[in-house]
């Protein structure tokens, strides 16, 4: 199968500290791949590396990122701009900061369409309205005239999903797209992403800390800890037969409303120590940058 995204032994440092330690993962066309981990595990760093928006202090020491078979590890600004939107798009976490508060929704969608397709204003407007229908926004004409602050969180996220899918990208990076939403709205937003992804046969790298969300929307997954891949495979395999103790510990530490309190177990300290030791050993083998 054709891998839309292939990351191979990616190593990134920030100020001489390793933040990604030989991370490899692949997202085939039409698949949703979950990238899971706790804060500091490096999941956002992977997403930023793919989008070419690493922090200024970050250095790619070794490894490759390929999009649709082409190397994109070290893109120029010009190449990156040509790629983003049409090739790779982002659904960001916080729709309030991703949308410009000073402009109406229509303006922000029309901008994208004109930039990427060179559409005229009228054609872009018609296309924007069509996109609103695609993401099942009721009263689309009204929403287009509104400002971001006038919309609910779920509505704003629908608008961003519309923008992400606007150019029919081959790969979408979804960075915690449902984290800030209420559960009922989260479910609708996940449903919408899955629906559009399946229809367009888009590859999605789904970044989240929420194991439950991964179990529901992803086909395959990678578990990161301290910048290292500790588990990967199909969601069935990872959830039903997790190979790594850390994956099992994360699951045991996740509260569930259908199980009594006694079922919850914090991550054992010995395991945390072992994982920290392994990371230190990795650094010792590979040297600081």
């Amino acid at each position: 199968m054709n891998d839309m995204l292939a990351i191979e032994a990616l190593r990134i440092t920030i100020a001489g500290r390793n933040v990604l330690r030989d991370v490899s993962l692949a997202v085939p066309q039409g698949h949703v791949h979950g990238l899971v981990g706790e804060s500091g595990a490096g999941k956002t760093m992977v997403a930023r590396a793919v989008l070419g928006i690493l922090p200024a202090a970050a250095r790619v020491i070794s490894g490759h990122i390929a999009f649709d078979g082409a190397e994109i590890t070290h893109m120029s600004e010009r190449e990156r701009r040509a790629l983003l939107g049409r090739g790779i798009a982002l659904i960001p976490q916080d729709p309030m900061t991703a949308l410009n508060p000073a402009f109406r929704i229509e303006h922000q969608i029309v901008d994208v369409l004109r930039h990427h397709f060179g559409l005229g204003r009228t054609a872009a407007r018609a296309q924007a309205l069509e996109l609103m229908h695609q993401v099942h926004i009721r009263a689309p004409e009204r929403v287009l005239r509104q400002f971001p602050h006038e919309l609910s969180g779920g509505m704003r996220q629908r608008v961003l999903i519309a923008i992400a899918f606007a150019c029919r990208p081959k790969l979408i990076i979804a960075d915690e797209p449902s984290t800030a939403l209420d559960v009922t709205v989260q479910r609708q937003v996940l449903r919408l992403i899955k629906h559009l992804q399946a229809r367009e046969n888009t590859a999605v790298l789904f970044v989240t800390h929420n194991l439950g969300v991964v179990a529901k929307i992803c086909d395959t997954m990678t578990v990161l800890h301290a910048g290292r891949v500790v588990e990967e495979g199909s969601v069935e395999a990872c959830f039903e037969r997790p190979a790594h103790a850390y994956t099992r510990a994360l699951m045991a530490a996740t509260p569930r409303y259908d199980q009594p309190a006694a079922a919850l177990a914090p991550v054992p300290e010995a395991l945390s120590r072992d994982l920290a030791d392994e990371a230190t050993a990795w650094d010792a083998r590979h040297g600081a940058a």
Binding site: V183, Q188, K194, N210, G212, Y257, P266
Partner: protein, 278 residues
């Protein structure tokens, strides 16, 4: 009604002046946030208050502790009517009723060390010698399983979980009978969250604390609470023992909330069960 509940809330209403949209003259619109809430809480019992954004769960916590002035109804605490206590009587009450906030980074003074932060409630309520205060601060750090040396640190030097432990220690400084915790594990990673939940469970048992735990996360409430109260638009739609409510929810809204929670089990039908068109 049970005899001698620690907290009795009856017909509690809260109306706040609404945000005026555009230019309005005359009286500001009043918005009903809480529309008559009834519940009781026994000493040592823990109650989860759950609901989605805008349900009024945070306002309910803040009204009980009188950070908001209720517009109707009554709150009785330890057999005493506290609904309309004046400022000085409230001060005495706050010793017995403490609140822990969601974001410890914004509720801990960044310019003070942990020691003085924990000593502040002690100074406010008790006359103690310096040595006694230092001793109590050390006890409080022990209580929440932080090293005593943390007394000399600043909040920004601590991790999120450690800061939340400081928030808990500060709330416990005056040995309150009731603690109201508002979304205190929401910003934490699951492994840290599990540790804080374990800590709260053991504190509750050891100190015989009554706990009101406000959360949008029903799974977390299941871990920590004896009973749960489900709020929708300022009204209680269902309350009862966690065991019962989570196994057999009676109200359709509770069912909808529970079904919307993505449990960590692979289930391809879960997403398909809702319409794409909301």
């Amino acid at each position: 009604m049970r005899a001698m509940a620690l907290l009795e809330v009856q017909g509690l209403k809260l109306a706040l002046r609404g945000h005026s949209s555009g230019l309005r003259f005359g009286r500001a619109r009043r918005i009903e946030i809480l529309k008559g809430i009834d519940f009781t809480l026994d000493a040592g019992e823990s109650l989860g208050i759950v609901g989605e954004s805008g349900s009024g769960k945070t306002s309910l916590g803040r009204t009980i502790i009188r950070l908001h002035e209720p517009s109707a109804g009554s709150v009785r605490f330890a057999d005493r009517e506290i609904t309309h206590l004046n400022a000085s009587a409230l001060r005495g009450l706050r010793k017995d009723m403490q609140m822990i906030f969601q974001d410890p980074m914004s509720s801990l003074n960044p310019r003070r060390r942990i020691g003085p932060i924990l000593a502040q409630p002690l100074h406010a309520f008790d006359r103690r010698t310096k040595a006694e205060t230092v001793q109590r601060v050390a006890q409080l750090l022990d209580l929440v399983a932080l090293p005593r040396s943390f007394a000399a640190r600043y909040p920004h030097e601590l991790s999120g979980g450690q800061r939340q432990r400081v928030g808990i220690a500060r709330a416990l400084a005056l040995e309150p009978k009731l603690v109201i915790a508002d979304e205190i594990v929401s910003g934490l990673d699951v492994s840290t969250q599990a540790q804080i939940l374990a800590l709260l469970r053991s504190l509750k048992e050891r100190l015989g604390l009554a706990l009101i735990f406000i959360s949008h996360d029903l799974s977390v409430v299941r871990v920590l609470c004896d009973r749960v109260l489900v709020l929708l638009a300022g009204e209680v739609v269902e309350q009862g023992p966690c065991e019962e409510v989570f196994r057999k929810p009676r109200h359709p809204y509770t069912r909808e909330l529970l079904e919307a929670i993505p449990l960590p089990d692979v289930d391809p039908d879960w997403l398909d069960a809702v319409a794409v068109d909301p």
